[in-house]
C-alpha cells in the first residue's frame, strides 16, 4: 500500500461489515422466522432484505433482524418495519420481489408500500 486512497478503499469495503456490530440502525426490518414463516418462504425474503439493504447502501440506516412467530401464520412470511417516531408497518405474504420493492420505496424512499400491508390483505 503506497497511498491513502488504497487505505480508504479497504476502509470503505470493510465499513459495512463492521457497522453491523454497532447495533441497530434507525430502521429495523424484522422478518418472522418461526417454523410457519420458514415453511411459507421467509428465508429467501430475509436474504433478499439483507442483500438489498447492502446494495442500496443503507447498512448504517436499517438493520435486518429476525423474530419468532407472531401468531398470524396464515399471512406468513410476515415482515415488520419499525422506525423511531413512526407507526410500525406490517407487510404480509412477502416474497423476494416484494422485498426489493419495500427496500427501494419504503426504506430508501420513506413511502410504505401499502398494497403489501396487512390492512390491504384483510380488505
Amino acid at each position: 500500500m503506497k497511498s491513502l486512497a488504497e487505505l480508504q478503499a479497504i476502509r470503505d469495503r470493510m465499513k459495512n461489515s463492521v457497522a453491523l456490530r454497532e447495533g441497530t440502525g434507525d430502521i429495523r426490518i424484522v422478518v418472522g422466522m418461526a417454523t410457519c414463516g420458514i415453511a411459507a418462504g421467509a428465508r429467501p425474503v430475509l436474504n433478499t432484505f439483507v442483500e438489498e439493504v447492502e446494495k442500496q447502501n443503507l447498512v448504517g440506516k436499517a438493520t435486518v433482524t429476525q423474530t419468532g412467530c407472531i401468531g398470524m401464520c396464515r399471512f406468513e412470511p410476515i415482515v415488520e418495519v419499525f422506525e423511531e417516531g413512526k407507526d410500525r408497518v406490517t407487510y404480509v405474504k412477502m416474497d423476494s420481489e416484494k422485498a426489493k420493492r419495500v427496500v427501494a420505496e419504503h426504506i430508501k424512499g420513506g413511502r410504505p408500500v401499502y398494497e403489501y400491508t396487512i390492512g390491504e390483505a384483510q380488505k
Binding site: 503506497k2 453491523l20 433482524t65
Partner: protein, 598 residues
Amino acid sequence: MIRSHVLICGGTGCTSSNSPAIRKKMEESLAAHGLAEEIKVVQTGCFGLCALGPIMIVYPEGVFYSRVTVDDVEEIVENHLLKGRVVDRLVYNEAAAGEEKHEVSSLADTGFYKTQLRVALRNCGVINPENIDEYIGVDGYQALGKVLTEMTPQEVIALMKASGLRGRGGAGFPTGLKWEFAAKNICDEKYVICNADEGDPGAFMDRSVLEGDPHSVLEAMTIAGYAIGAHHGYIYVRAEYPIAVKRLEIAIKQAREYGLLGKNIFDSGFDFDIDIRLGAGAFVCGEETALITSIEGNRGEPRNKPPFPANKGLFEKPTIINNVETLANIPQIINKGPEWFSSMGTETSKGTKVFALGGKITNTGLVEIPMGTTLREILFDIGGGIPGGKQFKAAQTGGPSGGCIPAKHLDTPIDYESLKAIGSMMGSGGLIVMDEDNCMVDVARFFLEFTVDESCGKCTPCRIGTRRLLEMLNNITEGKGTLEDLDKMEDLCHYIQKNAMCALGQTAPNPVLSTLKYFREEYEAHVVEKRCPAGVCKKLLSYEILADKCRGCTACARKCPVGAISGTVKQPHVIDKSKCVKCGVCMETCKFGAILKK
C-alpha cells in the same frame, strides 16, 4: 451476503474456559444448517466481563450470551440464528443485590457497560484482532496516514502535549513531553519501545489490548517513531502472554504486507519497523531502565537515572518507552483531536483509565472509565459490589507498588494526584477488592512477599530492607510482634522509599505504610491481644467445639486430616490444639454450628 455476526471472545479468560471449542462447534453447526454463507463467526478480543465468560454476542440484535458451553451452541443456532428466537436461558441475567432480577439482552444496557467510556479498549470485543482489514474498517491507520502526509513531527508532539495524555503505566509522566525530550536529541539512531511487561498481580489491561486490538499499538508506535525521528521499535512483552504474542506477530506480518510497516510508508519517505522481544516474567523488567537492559541482552537490572532514556536509552541512544494502554489512546487522539481527549477527565488527569477489577467483587473484569470517577462508582455501580453480602473493607490500587484505600475514601474522584494524596497510586490499574474476611496485615505481607521475591538485588535498601520488613510482618502475623516493631517498620519504610534505586524498591513499602495508616488497630490487635480480627492469620487462630451444640455425630472427626478430634458417638467431641493445623475443615463439615473459630 452476511446478515448476522456471531462474536466469540478469544481473550485469555474466555480461551481458558473453552471458547475455541465453542467457536469450532459454532462453525460446524452453521455449516450443517446451511447458514455458513449468511452468518459470520468472528473471534474477538476481551469484552471485559471475564467473570461471565465464555461470552458470545449476536449482531445486529446485540444479544449478549454469557457462560456459554459447547452443548449450548446447537440450541443457539437452531433457535436464535435459524428462527430468531433468543435463547433466554443463556442471556446475561443481571441481579443486583435486593433488586428484582431482570434479563439484559443487549450488552450496552448492562450496569457493567452502561457507565463505561471505552477509548483504549474501544475495539476490544468489537473487531477480529487477527484481521487487519477489520481494524482499517473501524478507521484504523487513518491517524498514521494523517500524521505522515499532513503533519510535521513538531506538530505531532504539540498535539500530544495539548491532549494532556499521561503515561498509563504508573508514574503518569506527560507523554508529549517525553516525546519532545527524545525528539530534541540529535542522533543517528533512536528507538521507540512499547512496555508490555505487565507484572502487577491482578492487572491485565495491557494483555487485553494486545490480544484484542494489536494494530492500535503498532500504529501508535509508528506515529511515535515519526515524531521523535526513530526508525525502529521494540515491543517488550512477557512470554507468559502467549495469545498476545501470537496476535502481535500476526499483526506485524499483516502490517508489513500492507506496507504500513517497513520502508517509505505512505510514500512519505519515512521508514519504521517493529520487532518483538520476549521477557521471562521478572517484575523489575517493567521498570524502564531494567527493561532496556534486558532488551540489550543483559540481566534485567535497573540503572541510575539520570541519564533518562530520552537522552541515553537503548544501546545508549535516545529512546522513548510508552506503556501499551498509553499507546492505544494515541490513534484516537490524532483522529478526534486533542480537545476531544482533554474534555474527558479531571484538571490534571485527562482521558480515561482502564482498571482490572479482581478480588472480592461480583463483576471480575476490565472497566474503562473517565478519570475523576469515584471508587464507589467503579466498585458498586460497575463492579456490582461485594459478593455474598459482605462488608467492603479496602481496595488496593497499583498492585504491590500501591496502597490500600479504606471505605472512608470511597468517594474520592480517582486521578493521579488524588490517589497519591491518600497514600496509594494509580499504578497500571490493578484494583483488588478486599472485604471483612481479609486481614490487612496479611494483605501487606502478601504484597511484600511478592516484592522480596522480585527484588533484583542490585541495591541494598531494596534487597535487604524489604526482607527485614517482611520478617517483621511475619512476626506480627505469628503473634510475636511488639508495638515497638510497628514504629521500626514505619521508619524502615521511609528509609527504603528514599534510598532504593528504582521504582520497585521506592514503592515497595506503600502497602505496609497505607495499611499501618488506615488499619493500625488491626496491627495492634495482632501485637497486643495476639488476635487476628479477620480470622486469617493461622498462628493466632484456634478452633474449639462448643459442647452444648455438639451432637457427637463424628462427622468432623472423620474429616480431620490430622486426627486432632476425638470423642465418642453422641457425646461432645474435643479438638486437641497441639495437633490441630487450623485448616478449618471441621468447621465446614459441622452441620450444627458447634465449631467456633477464635
